[in-house]
Every structure is written in C-alpha cells, then in structure tokens.
C-alpha cells in the first residue's frame, strides 16, 4: 500500500493523522456546512449579517415550510423526478442493446459505430443547442418534460453505450458460444443469458445517469421556459432571482435540491464509484 500504512508509523504520527482527518473534512465541506446552518437561520440573523456565527434562533420548520408553501419548489422537484426517472429507463433500454450489438457481433463498421457514440458523448452542448431547440419547437416538444426526456435519453446513450460495450466485452464469450451451439436464439441469449450478467453495469449507470440528469442545468434553460416543465436546477436559479439576499431561503432550497442525488449516492455508493471510475484501472 502507498503511502505506508499509518499503523506502521510512530504513535505520534498516528495521533496527528486522526486529528488531521476531521479537520481536513470540515474545511473541505465548509461550504456545505455553512449552507446547512444558514438554511435554519432566521431572517433577523440574515439582516444583522450573522451569516457565519451560531444562529440566534433555529428556524428549521419555518424556513423549509416557507420554501414549500410560498414557491413552486415542490413542483420543480416533481418535474425533476419526472424528467430523471424516464430518462434513466430509456437510456438503459437503448444502451443495453447497442452495447450488446457492439460487444458481441463482428461486422465491418462495428468500431466506427462505437466511435461515433464515444465521440458524440464528448461534444460541447452548444453545438447541439440551436438545432435541438429548433427541432423541439417544431415538433411541439419545446417546454415539455417529454422533450427533455427524449433529448437526455439520446445524449446519455453515448456514454452508456461506451460503458455497456466494454462491460459486455469483458464477459466470458464462451457462454454465448455454447448457447449458440445448443441452438438458443440470439434474442433469447441476450435476454436470458447476458442481461442477468449485466445487472452491476445497469445499477452503476442508473445511479450515474440519475445524478447527471438531476443536476443538468444547461438543457433545462435551453429547452424549457415555464414552470410547468422546469426542473429544480433551473427553478432554483429563477428563485434566486426573486429572493434577493434572502440567504436562509436560498440555502434551504439548495439543500432540498441537493438531497436526492446525495441520498442516491449514499445508498448506491459502490455502484456509483464503479461507474465513475470505469477505465481508471487496467
């Protein structure tokens, strides 16, 4: 192991390390801790400029109920779920199949098709913005949840195909060979033999895509205008414009917006990191 395990070093170093850890963590997460504390401050504290000291009163319930009753934040959160969950499902559906096709079958343009997916996944969003927006306006998908879901599913298919293809490629090919010899049809092989083995990949991508789409801000501003389809990211930005310097409300809103992906990460940590670090070892 590198660096040298701390247990093998002097007692003094070990104690020092045990103190350094929480201090480093507090400094690292200071922005988040400050937001949490401020989300329960009273307006009086904010007006008095007490942003950093201990709050004089705790307005946990007042602040959080204020954002839910006085603003459409609940609607934004609901929209975010309505956008994120179908996107995850559709992307996984598309990329299980594309990944399978590119990993299992040999055909002339295989590598080219694969590279198109990989390259497309890296392009800047702006090169797509004008045509995608125009297409959405013309098909009536502009300013709708469906419009965002369709775009996100298509775009994320690039990354997911890369991931799935490499994952399936690492599976033992003999499995498929012997199934073919037994006379099992190609679609049955996909569904009954390969799909069950893809569960870890599906779980990893599901959490990753959930986080990516939940946190998307650019497409939410490019393809949505009104409250009816606006997700929490763009919603928070528009609320920020209305709540000038009401930091207790902005903080409470930020916490609410950050909560779902944070929970997702904690519940599915292993899969999340497996997805993110694909290719970091080999």
């Amino acid at each position: 192991m590198f660096p040298r395990p701390i247990e093998t070093l002097s007692h003094r170093t070990q104690v020092l390390y045990k103190f350094a850890l929480p201090i480093a963590l507090i400094l690292w997460l200071l922005p988040l801790l400050a937001v949490m504390l401020t989300s329960i401050r009273s307006p009086g504290d904010i007006n008095a400029g007490n942003y950093w000291g201990w709050p004089t009163d705790f307005n946990l319930i007042e602040n959080y109920s204020a954002i839910f009753t006085q603003t459409p934040i609940f609607k934004y959160i609901l929209n975010s779920f309505k956008i994120t969950i179908p996107t995850v499902a559709i992307t996984l559906f598309l990329s299980c199949m594309t990944g399978y096709a590119l990993a299992i079958y040999r055909f002339k343009v295989n590598l080219w098709v694969f590279f198109i997916f990989v390259a497309g996944n890296f392009v800047p969003f702006q090169i797509l913005m004008v045509p995608v927006r125009d297409f959405s306006v013309q098909t009536g998908l502009y300013d709708t949840i469906t419009g965002l879901v369709l775009f996100h599913s298509a775009f994320q298919a690039g990354f997911c195909t890369l991931f799935m293809r490499n994952f399936i490629k690492a599976l033992p090919f003999d499995l498929i060979e012997s199934a073919r010899v037994e006379g099992v049809g190609e679609f049955k092989i996909f569904w009954y033999i390969v799909m069950p083995l893809m569960r870890p990949a599906i779980a990893a991508l599901a959490v990753l895509i959930f986080t990516f789409i939940w946190n998307d801000y650019f497409w939410a501003t490019a393809l949505v205008q009104g409250d009816q389809a606006m997700p929490i990211t763009a919603g928070l930005k528009s609320l920020n414009g209305q709540w000038i310097a009401q930091w207790h409300l902005i903080s409470a809103g930020s916490i609410v917006a950050a909560l779902p992906p944070v929970l997702m990460f904690f519940l599915m940590q292993k899969h999340f990191i497996a997805g993110l670090t694909l290719g970091a070892v080999k």
């Binding site: 942003y51 590279f115 490019a222």
Partner: protein, 304 residues
C-alpha cells in the same frame, strides 16, 4: 419426425439463417443509433450549416457565407471568451494533482475511513447550481466569509465577482471544488489497484516518499491520470453552469467563456442570433475535436 435439413428450408427461414448475423446487430443498434443520430450527430452538421446563415430562429434564414466567421474574427467578446477558456483549461488542471494529494492523504485503513472518503466526494454529487450559489455567497463583499477574513486582518475585501480582474479566477475556484473530488475518487480507485509486490520490492531497494511516488506509483496510476485529464479538460471546456449562476458572464462580459457566450448570443435578452451563436459553437466544437480525436486515437490503439 421431421428431418428437415438446411436445404429443405425455403424462403424466409433459409434466408434468415444465412443472413441473421448480418441483420441482428443492426436490429439491436437501431433504436439507440436512431435517437443518437437524431439528437446528437445530425444537429452537429445542422449547426455547421446554420453558421453560414443569418437567422433569428423564427423567420427565414439568410445565407451570408463566411460573414459570421469574419465578424467573429474581429469580435472582442469572442477573444475575451477564448482567453477565459484558456485560463479555465490551465487552472482546472490543478484538480488533477490536488485530487492525487487528497487521495494519498485518504488512502489509509483507519477506522471510519470509508465514510471520510465518501464525504470528501460529496461536492461532485451536488449540482453546480448549488455550488455556484454557495460560492457567490462566500464571495459576497459585505458579509461573505471572504469579507470576514479580510476584516479580521484589517483589510478591505475585494468584490471578487464584480471585479474584472478576479471574477474568472473566483468562478474557477468554485469549479475546482467538485472537480478535485472527481479526480480524488479516480486516484483512490487507482491506488487500490497498485500492485503491492512492486511497492514492497521498491521499499526493499530503499525507495520512499516522493521518489517512490514518482518512479513506482505514478507509472502505475497512468490510466487514472489519463481519465482524470480527459474529464478535467472536458469539464473546463463545458464550463457554463457556474458562470450562468454566479455572474451571467459579467461584469461587462469579462467572465464569459465560449460556451456561455454562445448561449448569450443565441438565446438571451441580448438577441436571438442563432447563426452567430452556431459559429461560436463550431469554434468550440473544433477545439474539443482535438481532444476527442486524441481520445479516439488512443482507444483505437488499445482495440487493435
């Protein structure tokens, strides 16, 4: 009992048996490839095409040849954005060594270290909108924490986000926070997979500390470093959210980058100049293409 031989099959069945391995992959690919072409591949070409037009997004586009590119050549806003993109690219790279540093710090097995690792990773999970709001509040010159620190030392706090000289650096600092977390997790996974025998062998040879890191560990972390650089470059060139949240490109457009400038030109109160916006996007795309080509080339070498 049916003793059908392949010869006795006729029509579709025989044809299918002969050609199925040519057709089935395309059946699997069809839905994904269709969606991806419709929403990603085709729009790239459309954008290039639109960049030769003058278009407000509603009326008829008017062909103006290279006029958009000529205008861009003399546009100060474009050069400011380009310069900021370069600053972003260079400074964002700090996330790679910083991520490595934190990963080395956390690569221990003491009690509770797993929780520490996941908490350190937190900034990457939350939305950049939230990161932007929090840092904007940090920089607030009247009551932000930065102001408090300056007051404590008797100084006057700079108004980071409304000062042309500091604004881009202020935003980059906010962007580095989640990016460092990302690089850290890549390196933690990489460190987990470093061959222990090699470390022991090097220790027996008397290698330690920085020399060990440089000659033994880093070569083994190369895949992690490669991915960290790729995602950091892409992240730097995609920077949009933080600028939109923290400054909207201001003051006086001094914190714009190409991604934001494109959006502002094509789709904001400054007007709906889709053609000109597409032109900026094409330039950004070409810059990104350098990295994409490099990435694909490397992948191609590995696939061979």
């Amino acid at each position: 009992m049916n003793l059908a031989t392949p010869q006795s099959q006729t029509g579709f069945a025989a044809w299918w048996k002969q050609h199925r391995f040519k057709i089935i992959p395309w059946l699997f690919l069809a839905p994904g490839l269709f969606m991806f072409t419709l929403y990603v591949i085709w729009p790239i070409f459309q954008s290039i095409w639109i960049s030769f037009y003058d278009w407000d997004g509603l009326g008829d586009p008017r062909f103006i040849g290279l006029a958009n590119y000529r205008e861009l050549w003399q546009d100060d806003g474009f050069y400011t954005s380009l310069k900021n993109n370069v600053i972003w690219l260079v400074l964002y790279m700090l996330a790679v060594p910083a991520g490595l540093f934190i990963a080395l710090f956390l690569n221990q097995t003491v009690f509770g270290i797993r929780l520490y690792k996941s908490l350190f990773f937190f900034p990457f999970v939350i939305s950049q909108v939230v990161v932007g709001l929090v840092f904007a509040w940090f920089y607030d010159p009247s009551n932000g924490i930065l102001a408090l620190i300056f007051h404590a030392f008797g100084g006057t706090p700079p108004a980071i986000l409304s000062d042309e000289n500091y604004v881009t650096y202020g935003i980059i600092a906010a962007g580095l926070w989640p990016q460092i977390a990302y690089c850290m997790i890549l390196y933690l996974t990489g460190l987990n997979n470093v061959a222990p025998e090699q470390i022991e062998a090097a220790r027996l040879d008397g290698a330690k500390g920085l020399r060990m890191l440089w000659h033994v560990i880093l070569p083994q972390l190369r895949p992690a470093t490669f991915i960290a650089i790729v995602v950091t470059v892409i992240g730097a060139l995609r920077s949009f959210d933080l600028i939109s949240i923290m400054t909207q490109g201001g003051p006086y457009g001094s914190s714009r980058v190409l991604a934001y400038y494109m959006y502002e030109t094509a789709l904001s109160e400054y007007g709906y100049r889709m053609g000109y916006g597409a032109t900026i996007a094409v330039i950004l795309f070409l810059i990104m293409m350098v990295y994409i080509s490099f990435f694909l080339w490397r992948m191609y070498q590995q696939e061979k």
